[in-house]
């Protein structure tokens, strides 16, 4: 883990991380409710009905976003701060 992003208070960080993981787990499990007929997703596309579709989409989208900007875009466009001077 790199230095500039290091957390200040490990205890608080652990609580925040724990609650985030818990929230992710809960929403993921709740999504299985839609498999029953009692809940309707009003889905237009059938893949919206797959349990966890939005979770996986969001996760993968963000991974792609970060990795593409870090490893493809940044090497192409990064310049020194005084580049235009």
């Amino acid at each position: 883990m790199n230095q500039s992003n290091s957390p200040q208070k490990p205890q608080k960080i652990r609580i925040i991380l724990g609650s985030l993981f818990l929230l992710c787990g809960c929403t993921f499990l709740l999504d299985f409710l839609f498999l029953s007929d009692a809940f309707d997703k009003h889905a237009v596309y059938q893949w919206e009905n797959w349990p966890g579709f939005y979770a996986i989409f969001g996760f993968v989208a963000c991974l792609l976003l970060v990795l593409i900007s870090k490893y493809i875009l940044r090497p192409l466009v990064k310049r020194d701060e005084d580049y235009y001077e």
């Binding site: 992710c24 989409f57 996760f59 963000c62 976003l65 970060v66 466009v77 701060e81 235009y84």
Partner: protein, 592 residues
């Protein structure tokens, strides 16, 4: 019967009188202006009025319908709050520019014909340029000039489109235009430049981070959203807008993620959010157009809130780079909370206003079965949380402790931020009672926002995006913020401008030097030399045989030659010799 005063004239005329007031009276006056404009906005009945005949053209200053009203509403609201935010500024020019800008934006939205639209459209640029210059730094000076040049080009394209349009249809009425011929394409591109379409967008992240901290709130509100309005009026349902909007919604995220200047991050995110609106216009159903105008309304609020909170950070610390900030939460808790409310709104958390409007556009996209666009917008929704929703508050207020200890932002800034934060949440919780009442297009069915499924899917999308952020940060994969800039399309005119300059410097100045060498120092000098020495040489040539015949010694001949040279240089020949030479010349001319 319409008894109201045009709100744009309240602001424009009011702007001119600002320097007359001093102290508290000035403050009261400046708050009264947008309040008075808002009062008259409420009085305006729908219809067409305030028309003037100019030569053969009818100028319409008041085309009032639901589409223009929603924009007038948010423009006056934001002007009022921006004045509160700016109270500490002691610069009449900045206030003047702000009111000019706001008045023109409202005038443009209410314009019923293309000429009035164009006049206000161009005056918008003046307001913006003044607000960039108000920062009073060398970099802002450069940015202001680039902004002006780019918008002049855009304005000329629009103007040529309007002229051609008038030539073809004989009317300057501004209604549905639709893409069908050259004039409409030119108007389309003119609108698109102000809308920051991809490739035409570079002026935005170039100029906004250089504007004054209060001025950028006006800028983030009027120019792009004015263009959104114009597109919605002129080109609803134009299919190419779907793809343009998709590109706008996606590509800026990659830039924003690796950008160090937080106001630049917000500028890129502005393009990304306008992309949603452009997609909404491209679909062209009543749901999508309502979604686009609702999104413009909400976006103006939360983007202003975000710019205000980072503006407060600049005001207190003098810094804006992610690398130089961090850990400000303890010093500026109120600003931090406002920033997070703005971040939650732009990320479209349920119960915040972004959710209200973004959902409408996403639903309209899905209903129209634009699958690729829908997936791209979903990607942009997830990404928005990442590159701005988390990034801006995280690097400014949390992350590592930068050691900066400052006071909380001034009270006026806090009041302004608090007001917008309240609006973001209030609209987010009660959209039916607030925003949905303002929507321009009638719809048979009311839009069901708070369904369990809807909240669940959005919640899941966002929590797992946050999870991705956290894991990437924990594993050190998140791109570290470094001191650097990222080149964009503006490279072509910033570096290209220099190339243009040096190319013409070398080529034109080269030709200049060469011409100087040949004509001035070459030919002219020779002619001069000939005029000076020619007569003497000619006479020496003629007289030497005579002198020899007469029997002059070489010494006497040398003295005579020297005298002739001297006389020739001074042009002082005896009259006899001059007359003799003239006769010789005339003789030559006569025979040849």
């Amino acid at each position: 019967m319409n008894n109201s005063i045009p709100p744009q004239f309240i602001l424009l005329v009011g702007a001119l009188l600002i320097p007359l007031f001093k102290g508290k009276l000035k403050l009261g006056y400046m708050l009264a202006l947008p309040a008075f404009a808002f009062y008259h906005y409420l009085q305006m009945p729908e219809g067409i009025y305030w028309t003037f005949q100019l030569l053969d053209f009818e100028l319409i200053f008041g085309r009032v319908d639901r589409l223009s009203l929603i924009f007038v509403n948010i423009f006056t609201v934001i002007t009022f709050i921006a004045v509160i935010y700016n109270i500490h500024v002691r610069n009449d020019l900045e206030y003047f520019a702000g009111f000019l800008y706001a008045g023109c934006a409202i005038g443009m939205v209410l314009a019923g014909d293309l000429i009035t639209l164009f006049i206000f459209w161009e005056m918008l640029t003046v307001g913006a340029v003044l607000l960039i210059l108000a920062r009073r730094s060398d970099t802002s000076m450069g940015a202001a000039i680039r902004y002006l040049l780019v918008h002049i080009v855009g304005g000329l394209i629009l103007l040529s489109g309007i002229v051609l349009h008038f030539k073809e249809f004989g009317s300057t009425e501004f209604g549905h235009i639709g893409l069908n011929n050259l004039s409409s394409y030119l108007i389309f591109i003119g609108f698109g430049l102000n809308c920051a379409w991809p490739i035409l967008h570079a002026w935005l992240p170039d100029a906004y981070p250089e504007a004054s901290i209060g001025g950028v709130i006006f800028m983030a509100t009027f120019t792009t959203k004015g263009a959104v309005y114009a597109l919605m009026r002129g080109f609803p349902g134009e299919p190419s807008l779907l793809w343009i909007g998709m590109a706008m919604a996606t590509f800026p995220m990659f830039y924003a993620l690796i950008e160090n200047d937080l106001r630049k991050v917000l500028s890129y995110s502005l393009i990304n959010q306008v992309g949603f609106m452009v997609v909404g216009i491209g679909i062209g159903t009543s749901l999508s157009l309502n979604g686009a105008s609702a999104h413009a309304y909400c976006h103006i609020l939360y983007k202003a809130l975000l710019f205000m909170s980072v503006g407060a950070v600049i005001h207190q610390t003098g810094k804006i780079k992610a690398t130089e900030l961090g850990g400000l939460f303890r010093s500026m808790p109120f600003t931090a909370i406002c920033c997070m409310i703005g971040a939650a709104s732009i990320s479209a958390f349920p119960l915040f206003n972004g959710f209200v409007s973004k959902s409408m556009i996403l639903s309209a996209t899905a209903e129209g079965h634009y699958t690729i666009i829908w997936l791209a917008l979903l990607f942009a929704s997830a990404g928005a949380l990442h590159y701005v929703g988390i990034k801006v508050p995280f690097f400014a207020f949390f992350s590592h402790d930068s050691g900066i200890r400052v006071k909380e932002a001034p009270i006026n800034m806090r009041i302004a931020m608090g007001m917008i934060a309240f609006l973001c949440i209030f609209i987010g919780i009660f959209p039916q009672q607030t925003l949905y009442k303002l929507l321009p297009f009638a719809s048979e069915t009311t839009y069901e926002l708070f369904t369990f499924a809807h909240i669940m899917s959005q919640g899941m999308l966002l929590t797992f995006s946050a999870l991705a952020f956290t894991l990437l940060l924990l594993f050190g994969l998140y791109p570290i913020q470094i001191r650097s800039i990222n080149i964009d399309v503006d490279w072509f005119y910033r570096k290209g401008g220099r190339f243009f300059y040096s190319f013409f410097n070398r080529s034109l100045n080269g030709i200049n030097t060469l011409t100087h060498r040949i004509l001035i120092t070459g030919v002219t000098a020779h002619i001069c030399h000939m005029a000076k020495e020619g007569p003497a040489k000619a006479m020496i040539f003629l007289l030497t045989p005579y002198w020899n015949l007469v029997g002059n010694s070489p010494q006497e001949q040398a003295v005579k030659r020297k005298n002739l040279h001297l006389q020739s240089e001074k042009g002082a020949f005896p009259i006899g010799i001059t007359a003799c030479l003239s006769v010789l010349l005339l003789g030559i001319l006569f025979f040849f």
